[in-house]
Symmetry: C2
Subunit: 338 residues, 2 copies
DNA sequence: CCGGTTCGCGGGAGCGCTCCCACGATGACG
DNA sequence: CGTCATCGTGGGAGCGCTCCCGCGAACCGG
């Protein structure tokens, strides 16, 4: 296995120069640099990230902690992050929390990340105090996606505002009995609370009564949405509109409506959040959020923080809030004129 | 940052013993081992994988190369692999090929993986000769998922057989004009060819005419499936049944059928492959394959190959072919009795 | 009682880089 | 013409581990 030393010997120069030349550092004449690059390629030299990491303290690797890789939303964020990280010469270490319940604990605990990565991306998790302590102890840039963590770098949408947009859309259409499908979901993810708050706030400011029985748990999954939809729609005083806190649940609600022979939007309107890849397919009205872009941005944020000079150059955590847009499709309309 | 040396000094023993004790190697008395473990934890010692890798040549990291993380199938395989790898103490380095077209080339080229990972998992890609050469040059265990690569470890289903099952199901129901929605898809993925072969073979052995105009490209995506469905169903001599080589495309076909006012399965039957998480939702008949399990198995395979003693202990590549099952749901039935 | 194992442990040489410091050569400047 | 930056380069000490080898003590059988 040819190393930097072999290249140096071949060229009769020091390993220091070879290292500098190969990494594009200043202090090397153009001619030398080119000779080094040529010989390195010729000898089939491949740098050893492990050794470089040992010596420099930088691993050129970023950890991405994700609740459920299999969910479209998270997978898309990961895709965006991977894109930017690889572009920037960083590797992406994936930590999936689904499956074993202890996984979440294990990732943050015991400093498993400590000497392994230069930065961490945490997706949609509301970190516990303990986790924040450990992340602080890491002493490395951390960016949260889809969570509001004061004092830390975050990339997200305004979940409450998005919920307001969705609910407001229904209010404007004339609905007065609007149900909410949300729920905590499995891991402690951030969005639910904010979206619920947006829903309630909008009802209040519209002067509509808040009926707790119209708030049901959909577990943020499609089957959960079906269940929730059935419960809400299979009752005499059923709502005329349903706001589901995620498109997956909204699609479930659509399904439930169809099962019960209700026409959408004639009998019941449904709106979601996300603009899931299938939302258009189901003609679902939704509040779209940029997904891949959040991953890209978050990656860019940690890359900036990692850039030479960021530490001294007065780098500080950034809060990026991306805009959302109402996509009014066919699943919403005025309430039935009973 | 406390290292192994600090632990050794604290206990007044050699770093060698500490290392052995911490890694569970033999040659350490139980008492010593316990003392070491206690002190290590107490000092907050965290091992440095980089240093360990440098010294041992093993990085305890596995690369997973995936065409599109955002696709349910691949995300699920990744999930399965992650589970097993983490369990085995390995990290998972994710390489997503979607997005930039050069990504695929870049991963295998230039030995980027060479000193970075102990093993590689390649999902659903049909490797080129060049890629195989490079993977061989790696000198590390490689396992392919969803591809048939003679001489290498593979975990997959029998795609041709699965296609036969699907097509055969339609034949048995009495269909005689059966269309196929497939196509190469974006990256050079394995499954398409085998599934097409299964479709054709079944037609042939059933003595049915092979009509090339009934084979259309669905690009292995949902929109592609809609398109394909429209083209097939919006013609006078439309088929009475459609076999789509993936559930995503099959769902698209269902959509196209509904658009055209055709009832499923009364007017047209549709069958897919995968048992996608939404297949049940759409009441789609499909040939189910274990997805997460393929990821788990592949991970287990490389872990076995990596296990101490595997190299000398006569380890050799394994071909695992997992069974598929026909899930006859509501999207298939006898042909219309025109 | 003695030679040979076995067991537990220590010493220390790397692994392949990075980075600090030093050094000579060159050019600018008063 | 001497002084002092500046530039390109070399030397070499680590980074934090692993692993080979060696050593003494305990043990065991004849």
């Amino acid at each position: 296995m040819t190393g930097i030393k072999d290249v140096a010997r071949e060229l009769e120069m020091s390993t220091a120069t070879v290292s500098r030349a190969l990494r594009g550092l200043p202090g090397v004449s153009d001619e030398t640099r080119q000779r080094v690059q040529r010989t390195a390629k010729q000898l089939g030299y491949v740098p050893s990230p492990g050794a470089a990491g040992l010596a420099s303290g930088r691993t050129r690797t970023v950890a991405v902690v994700v609740p459920f890789v299999t969910r479209w939303f998270f997978a898309s964020v990961v895709q965006g992050a991977e894109e930017v990280l690889r572009e920037g010469g960083y590797d992406l270490l994936l930590y999936n929390l689904a499956g074993s319940g202890a996984a979440r604990h294990r990732v943050f605990e015991g400093g498993r990340l400590t000497k392994r990565v230069d930065a961490v991306l945490v997706l949609s998790l509301q970190p516990t105090d303990d986790e924040l302590t450990r992340l602080t102890a890491l002493g490395r840039p951390v960016t949260f996606v889809g969570a509001d963590v004061p004092g830390w770098s975050t990339v997200r949408i305004d979940d409450e505002a998005a919920a307001c947009t969705a609910t407001g859309h229904l209010v404007e259409l004339g609905h007065r009995r609007i149900a909410y499908v949300g729920g905590p979901g499995e891991l402690d993810v951030t969005a639910p609370n904010a979206r619920e708050a947006g829903y309630r706030g909008t009802l209040r400011s519209a002067g509509l009564a808040h009926d707790p029985s119209l708030e049901v748990d959909g577990g943020f999954t499609l089957p959960g949405g079906i269940d929730a939809g059935r419960r809400l729609l299979d009752r005499p005083d059923r709502p005329t509109a349903i706001f589901a806190a995620s498109d997956e649940m909204a699609i479930g609600v659509l399904r439930a409506a169809r099962e019960l022979g209700l026409r959408v939007p004639h009998d019941v309107s449904v709106v979601g959040i996300d603009d899931h890849e299938l939302a258009g397919f189901f003609d679902l009205t939704t509040v779209a959020q940029p997904v891949v872009e959040q991953g890209r941005l978050a990656a860019r944020l940690v890359l900036d923080a990692l850039a030479p000079g960021a530490a001294k150059g007065g780098w500080h955590p950034a809060q990026v809030i991306l805009p959302t847009t109402l996509l009014a499709r066919g699943s919403t309309g005025p309430p039935p004129t009973a």
